[in-house]
Structure formats: C-alpha cells, structure tokens
C-alpha cells in the first residue's frame, strides 16, 4: 500500500502541487471513511435499534476477534484480496489522489487483515448512531492517512529508505496483531460491563 501511495506523496517535484495532492488524498480518505461510518450507523439504527441482543453479539464477536488476533483461534477474516492498480497513477492532477483516498476510505474494497477493522464496522452498526459512526470513520481515516505520509516524509520519498521503513512495519506484523488483540480485549471488557448495567 505504502509503495503505491509513495508517488502520491513525492511524485510531483513542485511543492505546491504536492501539498494539494496530499491534502486531496487525506480529505477524500477521511470524508469517505466518515461517510461509510455514517451509513453503517444509520443502517444499524434501523436494524438493531440498540437491542441488547445486538450488544451481546458484538461482545461475543469482539472476544472472538481478540482470540483470532493473538493466534488462539483460527478464523479467516472476510476481506478482499485486491490492491489498487498502479495504472491509476496515470490520472494526473486531482484524479489519483481522489481515487486512492476514496478507495482506501471505504475500507472494505482492499485487504483488511486486522480484526480491529471488522470490530470497528460491527461497532459502528451496533451503536446505531450516525454521528458516532462518522466520528469513528474520521478517526480511522486520520490514522490510516497519517502513517504512510509520515513514513514517506521520514524516508524522503520513494527509495531505499521508504522500502526499508515499509519492510520494518510489515516484518512486525505479529506485533501489530498482538496490539490489535489487546485493544479488542479492552473493548470487549468494556462492552460486557455495559451489558451488565
């Protein structure tokens, strides 16, 4: 992912254009993620209407996902094994930042190997709030947009440093899975307690 986004960050030598493209990418990503979260919140409000059973199912799902993340349970998470084609880079100007941002912002269109993403979608639906769904989408978008841009900045664009930093992140995938498991366990504890109130 980061290697595809790399040209977006440093592809244009003109600083002003680069800034505009990055801003376009980030705004599109966050807006799309927020819109997706709002839609999920709306659908959840219609379907579940904050039913205790839905919260119970969310608690069970969160516990299961935590076990999956730390490797104590095997479950192939539903995801699309698709990555954005490099061909999209031929769309100059605002074209490819918008296409990249919108596709990544939706989330479900590309790979999603971490269970926190699935838990987030379920959380947005079960909470049944358009505002909270949008807010969670925005938080997801900000976190997702920040990491590649920071990495590309530190690596000074495409090159050996960027590849090395990408591999540093990828090779520690097990650590990220453990962190996901911890976060999911924390969230599961919170929602179980909420059910008992």
């Amino acid at each position: 992912m980061i290697l595809v986004i790399g040209p977006l960050v440093k592809g244009d030598s003109r600083q002003r254009m680069w800034t505009v493209q990055v801003a376009t990418y980030v705004v599109t990503l966050i807006a799309t993620a927020a819109a997706s979260g709002a839609v999920l919140g709306f659908i959840g409000a219609q379907l579940f209407d904050r039913l205790p059973a839905a919260f119970g199912a969310l608690a069970v799902l969160t516990v299961v996902l935590a076990l999956v993340e730390v490797g104590l349970l095997r479950w192939h998470l539903p995801q699309r094994h698709w990555q954005m084609p490099r061909d999209w880079l031929r769309h100059r100007g605002f074209g490819y930042p918008v296409m990249f941002g919108a596709t990544i912002g939706v989330g479900v269109l590309t790979r999603a190997p971490f269970a926190s993403f699935h838990a987030m979608l379920a959380w947005q639906a079960v909470m049944g709030s358009i505002g909270l769904g949008a807010l969670m989408g925005m938080a997801y978008g900000v976190a997702r947009a920040s990491a590649p841009i920071i990495s590309a900045h530190l690596s000074d664009g495409l090159g050996t440093a960027l590849v090395q930093s990408t591999w540093w992140v990828v090779q520690r995938e097990r650590v990220w899975h453990l962190l996901n498991g911890i976060s999911l366990a924390l969230a599961a504890g919170a929602i179980v307690r909420a059910l008992l109130v």
Binding site: G71, L72, A119, M120, G141, R144, V169, L184
Partner: protein
C-alpha cells in the same frame, strides 16, 4: 530444536498470551465500571472505546503493503 521442546514453548507462550488477554479484558471491564461510578454515560464510554478501535484499525492498516 527438539519438537517436544518447541511444542512446550509454544504451549507456554499461548498460556501467557491468554492470561495477558484476560488481563486486558478485565482492565476494560474495570475502566467501564469506573466510568459508570463517575456517572459517565455508557454511550459516551462505548463511543470512546469505539474511537480507540478505529485508531488502532487505521494505524494497523499500514501493514497492508
């Protein structure tokens, strides 16, 4: 490495991970209890937990290289 030894290490690691996970679950449970005692609305606390999950999900997605 002897396969039995490797199996025991893996088993031990699994137990440690399970205990750590249970501890995190209890921490989440106690944080929620504390928030409830402080009269913080449950929806607010669950919203904060959801935001935490969203940030973790977004940050982790960096690994999908």
């Amino acid at each position: 490495m002897n396969e039995d030894v490797a199996g025991r290490i893996a088993g031990g690691a699994r137990i440690r991970i399970a205990v750590a996970l249970l501890a995190c679950f209890l921490i989440g449970y106690m944080l929620m209890t504390a928030a409830h005692s402080a009269n913080v609305a449950m929806s607010t606390t669950l919203g904060v937990a959801g935001l935490m999950l969203a940030v973790v999900a977004g940050g982790s997605a960096t690994c999908t290289a």
